[in-house]
């Protein structure tokens, strides 16, 4: 709507801002800013199975709302689209859907097993100097880069 936020905020502004958010949540509530935990509690609320930490559900909602405010209000030219531009250029729609779904299921399972994701282990865990989080982060960075190169080779360099 408005055109306040640039197409891509430089990393040296966004990164430190995120760092302050991590410190902020620890300083206010003694809690890390991990996102996969928010999924677990939101899922618990929907299925009414496990004990639900309600504020984690609000955090889940907040992620969506924050994205909405920046992309739809503070930035211009937002529209409904499929997303995944680079994948769609290489694969037909059905294959893209399949890949996204399979990849997301795998990352969800992995995050559950590891006890966190990019935000939980990758940033909040390493910021706490946790050996477990450092291990998880080093592992997923390595397999992610490796997998991307395999995809790159398999698609003959298209992806």
């Amino acid at each position: 709507m408005f055109d306040v936020v640039p197409d891509r905020l430089p990393w040296f502004i966004g990164g430190p801002l995120l760092g302050l958010l991590i410190v902020g949540l620890f300083a206010v509530a003694n809690q890390p800013l991990g996102a996969s935990g928010a999924y677990v509690h939101t899922m618990g609320l929907l299925t009414r199975r496990t004990e639900v930490v309600v504020w984690r559900v609000w955090y889940f909602v907040g992620l969506f709302v924050g994205g909405l405010v920046v992309t739809q209000i503070l930035r211009s030219g937002a529209e409904v689209r499929s997303g995944y531009d680079a994948l769609r250029e290489v694969f037909p729609l059905w294959a893209t859907v399949l890949m996204v779904f399979a990849g997301a299921t795998l990352l969800g399972f992995g995050a559950g097993k590891a006890g966190g994701c990019t935000s939980g282990h990758g940033m909040c865990g390493t910021a706490q100097r946790s050996p477990a989080s450092l291990t998880v982060t080093a592992t997923f960075m390595a397999t992610a880069v490796l997998t991307t190169f395999v995809l790159h080779l398999l698609t003959g360099g298209d992806l």
């Binding site: 760092g19 928010a38 955090y59 996204v100 966190g116 994701c117 477990a132």
Partner: protein, 150 residues
């Protein structure tokens, strides 16, 4: 109740930073993992470079947080499930080009396929919680119960 508002607020700010940095786009993550653009590595690195020393300092001062009792940082030892889970997470992250927090921003930015990613993440997490019936592995970066204030 205060904690709910804090959750919403920090979620919104985190989502806003992710959106502003374009981390909700598949292309951004893919170019990072293809080692074509290093912005996201710098982004993550500078977030840690800012938060790690501040957290260390706050811990050393022994501050008491208004909503969660005394500040406690957790430093668990690595175990097998960390490596296995991390490895699977990395493969999925590379294929889907998104992870839990940016997937939500992807949807709110209007990218319809983000819904597929969201459904997959939910499925994966529930498959895991079904498999691990004894104890949920709560990592150092995820929600923990604290003694007071919740």
């Amino acid at each position: 109740m205060k904690l709910n508002l804090i959750g919403l607020l920090f979620g919104a700010m985190f989502g806003g930073v992710l959106a502003a940095s374009n981390l909700h786009e598949y292309d951004t993550i893919h170019n990072m993992l293809r080692l074509k653009e290093f912005d996201v590595f710098w982004f993550m690195g500078s977030a840690i470079a800012v938060s790690a020393p501040l957290l260390w300092w706050l811990e050393r001062r022994g501050i008491v947080t208004p909503l969660g009792g005394p500040l406690t940082l957790s430093r668990s030892r690595p175990e097998r499930h960390h490596v296995v889970g991390g490895a699977l997470f990395g493969i999925g992250w590379a294929v889907a080009g998104t992870c839990p927090a940016p997937a939500l921003v992807m949807i709110s930015s209007g990218a319809a396929l983000g819904v597929i990613a969201l459904a997959g993440i939910f499925l994966g997490l529930s498959l895991h919680s079904r498999q691990a019936q004894t104890s949920a592995h709560v990592g150092d970066g995820e929600h923990r119960s604290v003694t007071s204030g919740t």
